[in-house]
Amino acid sequence: MSALAKTSGKGPCALLAAALLLAAPKALAEDATARAPVTVETPPPAHQLSAYATTQASFFLSPIRTRGGLGGGLGIRDTLQDRFILQADVSYLLLAGNSLNLRVAAGVQARGTYAPAVFLTLSTFFGDQLTFLDAQHPEPPRGPTVALELTLAPLRFSVQGMQISLLELGLGASPEFPGLGFDYHLGFVEVGVPF
């Protein structure tokens, strides 16, 4: 005791301070424990509807036609149990004429803030197209093209129900009777807001 008093040179005040320092962490910890809410697992909502806006480059290329371009659009999304996604959007594209790209997709996402997702998409192009004739297609092809596409959204985030996705990638295929056409999709930015 005397040695401690001698060392600090401050007497009882120093001792009180040291005691407070030693006691404080324990007291704080106990207080925190006392005030911590009881964790209750709340089930994710069965349906969470969102509206979203997207910007993209989408093309459909085959030996007999080219259509698509750069553009953007709007869509609606239903997220089921914070896991499964059903969504549909329509975009206006400009480069190879004027075209519309209607995309209907079903997918699955990771739960949490970082929420990458994968979709199976039916990508339909309407409108203008550049066309080419070949031996199997002696007349210009008409009508829309419907491609089945696998879409990856590796940089997708969910913050308080709002979704942001960067650089989505999609690759699909569609029959050209005979032959095959390919659908290429690059989503630049997509922002979804719950409602």
Partner: protein, 339 residues
């Protein structure tokens, strides 16, 4: 019940027949006389064609270029090597020599330069008011062998061949002035002839340069273009897509040229399509008339494009001749003949 069965079967049968009839594809070509069209195509003489190209190239070489300013020279040097007068004189002489009526459309263009389109006609036998046109621009930078002596020589050779026959519709041969300054001659022509019944127009610009090496062809992004520059491109807009399909069908039947087709929507008035508007077909498209553009794709394959090296020795006479033969068959088909 039993009585209704035959009636139901008959109805079903009728529906199937109606469905089949609705789905049945109409033939692309209406009663083509392929033997006669093929024989006519073979009347195109490759040697005569190349002789005319040589003559036109000499004309351009011997001609005095149009005046140009220092600024034009700095902006685009070929502008100071643009000629047309001597080539026009040859065109007039050759067309008149075929017994065709030759007229001129002369005016002062918006460039401030006098403009002269040369027009010759072979009147139709039964529908002279219906016109099938073949045209090419005759002004050229430097010697202008591919661009566009090949096109002009094709028009003149077709005038020689077709003027020996009769057709239901009128065939019109046109040499346009001042294409290189922005399609000015063809623009003026379309303005003046608005209201005529034009069945189809075939426009040539650069049709004699070919290269069979893989990688010799470049293209616009997204177009399924062959790697080798050994084809002729046939380009239409939506309005004239049926004519392009007909030309393609004729080519398939007669096996004349390696034709690669492209139909562009909205007369190519969109960002990717502007490169498809760079010749005398575009005024026809913009006025709602049918026109096909035949081209070897010019600078997408030809390193001599708008250079002083655009000379006759760079051309491929055999492939070039086949393209003109295909055109002869197409023009004769659309003109309703030969009778």
């Amino acid at each position: 019940m039993s009585a209704s069965l035959p009636r139901t079967s008959a109805l079903l049968g009728a529906c199937v027949l109606l469905g089949a009839a609705a789905c049945a594809r109409q033939p692309l070509l209406e009663n083509p006389n392929l033997d006669r069209l093929g024989a006519l195509a073979q009347e195109v003489d490759g040697a005569a064609l190349m002789a005319t190209v040589n003559g036109l190239v000499q004309d351009h070489g011997a001609d005095t270029p149009l005046a140009c300013t220092d600024e034009q020279s700095r902006l685009y040097t070929p502008l100071c090597h643009l000629t047309h007068d001597k080539a026009r004189a040859r065109i007039e002489a050759q067309l008149a020599g075929r017994g065709l009526t030759v007229t001129h459309q002369e005016l002062v263009a918006r460039t401030g330069l006098p403009l002269s389109n040369v027009i010759a006609e072979l009147p139709g036998a039964s529908h002279p008011e219906e016109i099938v046109l073949v045209g090419a621009h005759y002004d050229a930078f430097y010697a202008g062998a591919d661009d566009n002596s090949t096109g002009v020589a094709a028009v003149l050779e077709l005038a020689r061949v077709l003027s020996q026959h009769r057709f239901d519709r009128t065939l019109r041969f046109v040499a346009f002035d001042q294409e290189e300054l922005g399609g000015i001659g063809s623009d003026a022509y379309v303005d003046e002839t608005r209201g005529e019944h034009l069945v189809n127009a075939v426009i040539y610009d650069c049709i004699g340069y070919y290269d069979t090496r893989p990688g010799s062809q470049t293209s616009l992004p997204g177009l399924p273009t062959p790697s080798a520059a050994d084809f002729i491109a046939g380009i239409s807009n939506d309005t004239s897509s049926q004519r392009l399909a007909e030309l393609n069908a004729l080519n398939d039947a007669l096996q004349l040229a390696h034709l690669v087709t492209l139909t562009t929507p909205r007369s190519s008035t969109f960002p990717l399509g502007s490169a498809l508007l760079r010749s005398d077909h575009s005024p026809f498209w913009f006025s709602g008339q049918e026109a096909l553009f035949l081209t070897d794709t010019a600078n997408f394959r030809n390193p001599h494009y708008h250079q002083d090296t655009d000379t006759v020795d760079t051309l491929d006479p055999a492939r070039y001749t086949q393209v003109v033969r295909l055109s002869a068959a197409g023009l004769a088909y659309w003109a309703g003949g030969p009778l």
